[in-house]
């Protein structure tokens, strides 16, 4: 760095603007220590698992993963995986599953976002709330409720359909089989809608309505405006959401496990889960790590093309002036159709799954609606389930995991955002990458990699809830830092400088200035991570032991065991908890999210 002093001497002193870099002895400041520690911790949390994953994939893991020489290098894991025809069918299913779910989710989300933001659809506010509400239902629960509704043997809808069309003609199975790829796509797609819809609505709302007005005064009708102005302008937002949701689809085990396993539809995430937790035999960490690397590569592909896809539009920022309420498109004769489709969608995606869960939870055994079934309504299962030790310890674990992961990831997120926004250090880019990477790492891969680490390290973490906390805390750093980076960027640097000029040390700057100013952002992020982590099934399942059951993994294990009523009771309870947390979040973020 001090090399720049040499040309300074030769160059004519006409441009004093180039600051002369002088290397002087710098005192180790609180800021520097904080930055350094943050980077080190993140390096350990993010890169450690990645290294383990790569080691395991290229080693002979029959004797466990080896972390010091001599390494038992081998290419056998890859050659086995490539030689197996099953691999290609898994890859193909993964591609179809994720592409289908994304297309469905984005088409539905854009349609509803447009209807709510730009048309005179009646009851827009309730529709908005009901479209976002399913966000409070964990995907594993919605998968279970769809299984209750549509499983080929005694799915509620199937029973009703067979009743209508006469059981004889159709037989004792079907007519709908939810344990198949098309239905998995549909269920996954619906579970993606709330967040996708939120993201698209937000950017549609943030869009300068003047740009549409300008097209209108240029003589464009509404179809042309949607096609040539609105959609292209939303492209960055849509692509951003697409990349985000793509990772969500490929990393999750919930829906593929509940709906795919019985129908023998395997995608990469369930493949990794299966080879890590085989029903019989020993786990094959070599194979699962190899699949993990596949999944990692798959998740990284869209990220690599992210900037290209955005096109040459570095800044989509334009001058914004007055904001008028966008012109409202009258639906006219299409109104009844739009209303009918909207409420049908809400009923199918939200009301029906909830009702079936409640129904199943008050029945001693699952069956169709009948007079006899109405007589059988009982709340004893609630009593039995909620007083069991398993439930109380899972509830306690869930709360601990939720709170601890939220605290861990938000503290890290705040620190890393602060480095990203404020630091002029040359290690700044590392903070950027480290904050971003956990988002690109599929949960099932993080789970696997962290499992491999703590199998080896002589820390008493493996099998406890803390291994789940570490995994979730790492994974949600990205989510948290999205909020905190924006939050810190909004706090003018001069506020910190003013504190320093008043004699404040780093800890005072944080304690008296940054933390109080960031409190709303922090709380918002804390609840968001809390909500996400108590809903998460992937990590608790990958790191499952009998001692670290949380609600989501308990629900899965009851379901796996075949206890439909118990599962339904737990699901209802869990939904109540997440809905309460979501309401808190909504109340906290005020009207920003809603209307």
């Amino acid at each position: 760095m001090s090399a720049s002093t040499a040309p300074e001497i030769v160059a004519p002193p006409v441009r004093p603007s180039a600051p002369q870099r002088v290397r002087r002895r710098r005192r180790i400041t609180g800021r520097a220590v904080l930055s350094f520690l943050t980077i080190i911790v993140l390096l350990y949390l993010v890169l450690g698992p990645l290294v383990m994953l790569v080691l395991a994939a290229f080693e002979d893991t029959s004797g466990g993963v080896v972390i010091r020489p001599p390494f038992p290098w081998t290419g056998a894991n890859f050659s086995h995986v490539f030689a197996n025809a099953h691999t290609y069918s898994v890859l193909w299913s993964t591609v179809i599953f994720s592409a289908g779910a994304l297309v469905f989710a984005f088409a539905v989300s854009f349609t509803f976002a447009w209807l709510i933001e730009r048309t005179d659809l009646p009851l827009r506010t309730p529709v908005y709330v009901l479209l976002v509400a399913p966000q409070g239902i964990p995907a594993v629960i919605s998968a279970i409720s769809w299984s209750l509704l549509l499983n080929p043997t005694n799915g509620f809808v199937n029973l009703v359909l067979r009743g209508i069309f006469g059981g004889g003609g159709i037989g004792s199975r079907g007519p709908i089989n939810v344990y198949s790829l098309p239905w998995m796509i549909l269920v996954e797609g619906m579970s993606l809608v709330p967040l996708t819809f939120l993201l698209i609505t937000a950017s549609l709302r943030g869009m300068n309505a003047g740009l549409e007005d300008a097209a209108r005064t240029s003589g464009a009708g509404f179809g042309t405006i949607v096609r040539r102005i609105t959609l292209p302008l939303l492209r960055p937002a849509i692509i951003g959401a697409l990349v985000y949701e793509f990772v969500t689809v490929v990393e999750a085990v919930d829906i593929p496990l509940v709906l795919g396993l019985p129908g023998h539809v395997t995608v990469l995430s369930t493949q990794i889960y299966n080879s890590t937790h085989p029903p019989v035999g020993l786990p094959d960490y070599g194979a699962s790590s190899t699949f993990g690397i596949f999944l990692l590569a798959l998740a990284l592909i869209p990220l690599l093309f992210y900037n290209k896809m955005l096109g040459n539009t570095g800044s989509y920022v334009t001058v914004t002036g007055k904001s008028f309420r966008p012109k409202i498109q009258k639906l006219g004769k299409w109104k009844p159709l739009a209303v009918a489709l909207t409420w049908l969608y809400i009923f199918v995606s939200f009301v029906m799954p909830l009702l079936i869960l409640i129904w199943a939870s008050i029945q001693p055994y699952f069956g169709t609606l009948s007079r006899a079934a109405l007589k059988r309504i009982t709340f004893t299962s609630y009593d039995k389930t909620l007083t069991s030790n398993l439930f109380t310890s899972a509830l306690k674990n869930t709360l601990i995991v939720g709170l601890a992961s939220a605290a861990m990831s938000m503290v890290l997120a705040m620190l890393v955002s602060w480095i990203i926004v404020r630091s002029r250090s040359r290690f700044r880019w590392m903070a950027d990458v480290l904050a971003f990477l956990p988002h690109a790492l599929p949960g099932v891969v993080i789970g696997l990699a962290i499992l491999l680490i703590y199998l080896l390290l002589p820390l008493h973490v493996y099998g406890t809830i803390w291994i789940i906390v570490i995994a979730m805390g790492t994974q949600y750093v990205s989510l948290g830092s999205r909020l905190t980076t924006g939050g810190i960027a909004q706090i003018q640097r001069s506020l910190e400088e003013a504190a320093e000029a008043s004699g404040a040390k780093a800890r005072h700057v944080w304690g008296r200035v940054l933390v109080p100013l960031l409190r709303p952002v922090f709380l918002n992020g804390f609840l968001l991570v809390f909500l996400a982590s108590i809903q998460n099934l992937t990590l608790p399942l990958m790191l499952y032991s009998t001692k670290n059951l949380v609600l989501s993994s308990l629900i899965w294990s009851r379901w796996d065991y075949g206890d439909a009523t118990g599962t339904a009771v737990l699901s209802v309870v869990m939904t109540v908890i997440t809905v309460i947390a979501a309401l808190f979040l909504r109340g906290l973020s005020g009207r920003r999210a809603g209307e």
Partner: protein
């Protein structure tokens, strides 16, 4: 025949259950090829009026005619994209996902099918008009504010519309650029002869560019006339104060004469002779508005005009003039003095008030005089409700 006719335009909306009237029975006509300005402070309804003409807002009642075609009436509304208009927005509304060419070509491509050679030619013509030809291949986001402004104007003109609507097009530019664009905009408008409605809160823009000005307040046109009418004979304290700096002196009519049109007024600072066309009644309370540049300062009384003793409070030398604040009785009066003058603080002076420059306003006109300067970045609080 008027190119634009707005008749009893009413625009109401409800804000949290309360009915708000943004435009209250506004009527005006714009002649062919005229440059017509709606001038007023924020929230006066000028932008809403313009948006009603464009069809971006639906008026509650009233009629609008553009070039002989009724576009808004009780019988129906012509949608925006079928109106023969071009519009420039305050924030330019340049589409960031398109190139300069595509932005300008858009109105031609969504309208009647034109051969691509014609489109190309017309786009180049429009860009040449605003001196932007060399940027045709740029991305819209690579343009500066002033260039986006020009692009937005080219886009509005490319269809050769009957009516050009300008919604505060200059307010986002910096002062220098604004002055230059003011001139260019007016030259372009004259050259291509397009009937124009211009919305602004800047009285200098309004005075310098318009054929006619309508000064609006609270959804109502207060005064309409040529820039000279508006500036020299404001009909109310509001107009006088809004268009440039003004001193107000309140008093009552004491006597008429000796010359016809002259009146002697009793004011708190002494007797004042004013010359006015409008008949005044003795005993009537009135307000006199007089511009700072009409006043003179001298060390001795000047015969032949009102000359009132005062004391200099502050003199700000601004180069082209000296902005004096003088204490005249209980009034603080602003005087624009010649840069050659140099009166000191606390110095005794005589303020010369020429009778012909005293504009007499009936005192019961608009109350609540606003400041004569308007802050930038105003936001019309119209239609923000759900």
């Amino acid at each position: 025949m008027a190119a634009i006719r707005v008749d009893r335009l009413l625009h109401q909306y409800s804000d949290r259950g309360r009915a708000v009237t943004a435009v209250d029975n506004v009527s005006f006509e714009v002649e062919e090829n005229q440059f017509y300005t709606l001038l007023g402070p924020s929230g006066c309804g000028k932008t809403t009026t313009l948006r009603c003409i464009a069809g971006l807002e639906l008026p509650t009642a009233g009629t609008i005619e553009l070039g002989g075609t009724v576009v808004v009436s009780d019988r129906g509304v012509v949608p925006t994209h079928r109106r023969d208009i071009g519009m420039v927005f305050q924030d330019y509304a340049v589409w960031p996902h398109m190139s300069v060419f595509d932005n300008v070509a858009f109105p031609l491509k969504v309208g009647k099918r034109l051969p691509s050679s014609v489109v190309k030619e017309r786009v180049h013509e429009a860009l040449a008009l605003v001196n932007m030809e060399q940027y045709v291949d740029r991305r819209a986001t690579q343009l500066s504010g002033g260039q986006q402004q020009r692009l937005s104007l080219a886009r509005a003109l490319v269809r050769q519309p009957k009516v050009l609507l300008l919604d505060e097009p200059l307010s986002n530019l910096d002062a220098k650029l604004r002055e230059q664009m003011r001139k260019e905009l007016r030259l372009i408008q004259r050259r291509i002869k397009v009937t124009t409605i211009f919305v602004t809160h800047d009285q200098v823009e309004a005075l310098s560019m318009s054929n006619r000005i309508a000064v609006m307040k609270d959804g109502v046109i207060i005064q309409e006339g040529t820039p000279r009418d508006i500036y020299l004979t404001p009909n109310s304290e509001f107009v006088a104060a809004f268009i440039g700096a003004t001193n107000f002196i309140r008093g009552t009519v004491a006597a008429a004469g000796p010359i016809s049109g002259d009146y002697t007024l009793d004011t708190s600072v002494g007797q004042l002779v004013c010359r006015t066309d409008q008949p005044l009644v003795v005993g009537e309370p009135v307000t006199v508005a007089v511009r700072p540049e009409a006043l003179t300062l001298s060390t001795d009384p000047v015969p032949g005009m009102n000359s009132i003793e005062a004391q200099v409070d502050l003199g700000l030398f601004v180069g082209e003039s000296v902005d004096y604040h003088v204490q005249m009785g209980d009034l603080l009066i602003r005087v624009k003095g010649s840069p050659r003058t140099h009166f000191r603080r606390h110095e005794k002076v005589y303020v010369g008030i020429p009778p012909e420059d005293c504009t007499v306003i009936a005192a019961d006109e608009v109350k609540g005089v606003p400041t004569s300067t308007v802050e930038e970045g105003e936001v019309d609080s119209v239609g923000q409700t759900v």
